[in-house]
Symmetry: none
Subunit: 254 residues, 2 copies
């Protein structure tokens, strides 16, 4: 929409392919050298472009700083909440959002069920890490050594007969979860409660958070809950898209 800015920004992906000198930039932009020079100078002043000793231009380090700062100020919870609320509006069950931090999995958001029966959980409270669907999702994406280290250090309390019994079983479960891209907890924490969950990913593809839908047996059976899985996964993907800043331009978003 703005010609000048449009041209200037077109320089960035061009330089991303490798360093280029003024003439090359001008040619590939289809503008006069002096025009390219002025654009490059402006980019340079903002640190987005760096000039190396041989006078060629390449992408500048401030790009890192910007990306870094942006990520630090990104709040998954804030972005996810409207989606969670909408999903809750649609299906009615309790919805959780959790993150992994320093060997723990913590709930950071929760939208209560509309039904009278509620499960006990609290925002900020550590999750039952060996059984919860969100915990499986988050741990499944850890780098292999850390995943093993965490799994080895955990206790495996037998909340119910279906609870994860030990580290070996847990790691196997994590492999399955990583493979299929979703997770469940079918009565592993409390006999009568089932959950299905899906991961939320950042721009680099890493799992930054996980969400789950929980419902007691008396309201929906495990099979019925599983029919919600596509919806849950789609919601998680929507959140991922929003979180990572992927722009769905020109594409009909399903």
């Amino acid at each position: 929409m703005s010609q000048t800015v449009d041209r200037a920004l077109s320089i960035l992906p061009l330089l991303a392919q490798g360093p280029a000198d003024l003439g090359q930039v001008a040619e590939r932009l289809g503008v006069h050298k002096s025009t390219a020079l002025r654009l490059l100078r402006t980019l340079h002043e903002h640190g987005l472009v760096h000039r190396q000793q041989d006078q060629r231009y390449r992408l500048g380090a401030r790009l890192f700083a910007l990306a870094q700062e942006a990520v630090e100020n990104l709040d998954v919870r804030e972005i996810a909440h409207p989606y969670l609320a909408a999903l809750n509006e649609q299906i009615g069950h309790t919805i959780h959002l959790a993150v992994y931090e320093e060997g723990e999995v913590l709930y950071i958001d929760k939208v209560e069920s509309r039904y009278p029966v509620r499960m006990y959980s609290r925002i900020g409270k550590p999750v039952a890490i060996t059984v919860a669907a969100v915990a499986k999702l988050l741990l499944a994406d850890l780098p292999e050594p850390e995943r093993r280290a965490v799994a080895a250090k955990l206790d495996y309390p037998p909340y119910t007969p279906r609870s994860t019994p030990n580290a070996a079983a847990f790691l196997k479960e994590l492999a399955t979860v990583r493979e299929q891209g979703w997770a469940t907890d079918l009565g592993g924490h409390e006999e009568s409660i089932n959950c299905v969950g899906a991961p939320i990913r950042g721009a680099d593809g890493r799992v930054v958070a996980a969400m789950s839908v929980s419902a007691p047996n008396v309201v929906v059976t495990a099979e019925e809950l599983l029919t919600l899985l596509p919806l849950v996964r789609r919601t998680a993907d929507d959140i991922s898209r929003e979180y990572s800043g992927t722009t769905p331009t020109k594409e009909a978003s399903a």
Copy 2:
């Protein structure tokens, strides 16, 4: 130099601090709303800016992709990483790699005590330039006039009582560092954290990057950390050798 582009680029650091709506952007830019809108639209078309559901703007995925590509073009990082990982394996502490660019010192790689972290963790963050060991190493090697200019322009925040107090002290410290070929930060940034660092040099002998090992007092004392210095220097020298020996660059374009 180019007003339009200058304004457009000024939006980026503004949005890095957090999402903002059209009115806020226009106000902080000092332009009319319609002008800000056109700039934001252009940034949006290039994917640098993302519009979230509440219509506010934040930085977009393309920026992260560009930052990623830019960091991959820094071949020091690729060469150094295996060495950093190996050293981390051996001594366990956190290891940083940093470069100097345009008056700033930036971390471009980091190996955590426990596991390797990719781009979006801490990397890209500007270093506490007046106290960090890597910053001293990089600035110590600048040509004299530039070194003085940079030192004069810096702030000298008193993070701790041991922080570098002013430009004169800083320049003196840089002279020492240049002389001895290594640097430390003993509680100058955070009371309980010490670092030792060494320079990585290119074929021409100039410092192209710097690495450091950091550890909290509670784990190792400053004296113990200093016993690692020969190891750190040897690693840095190994990296320097490989970096200056290979020289695969400069021919990669077209």
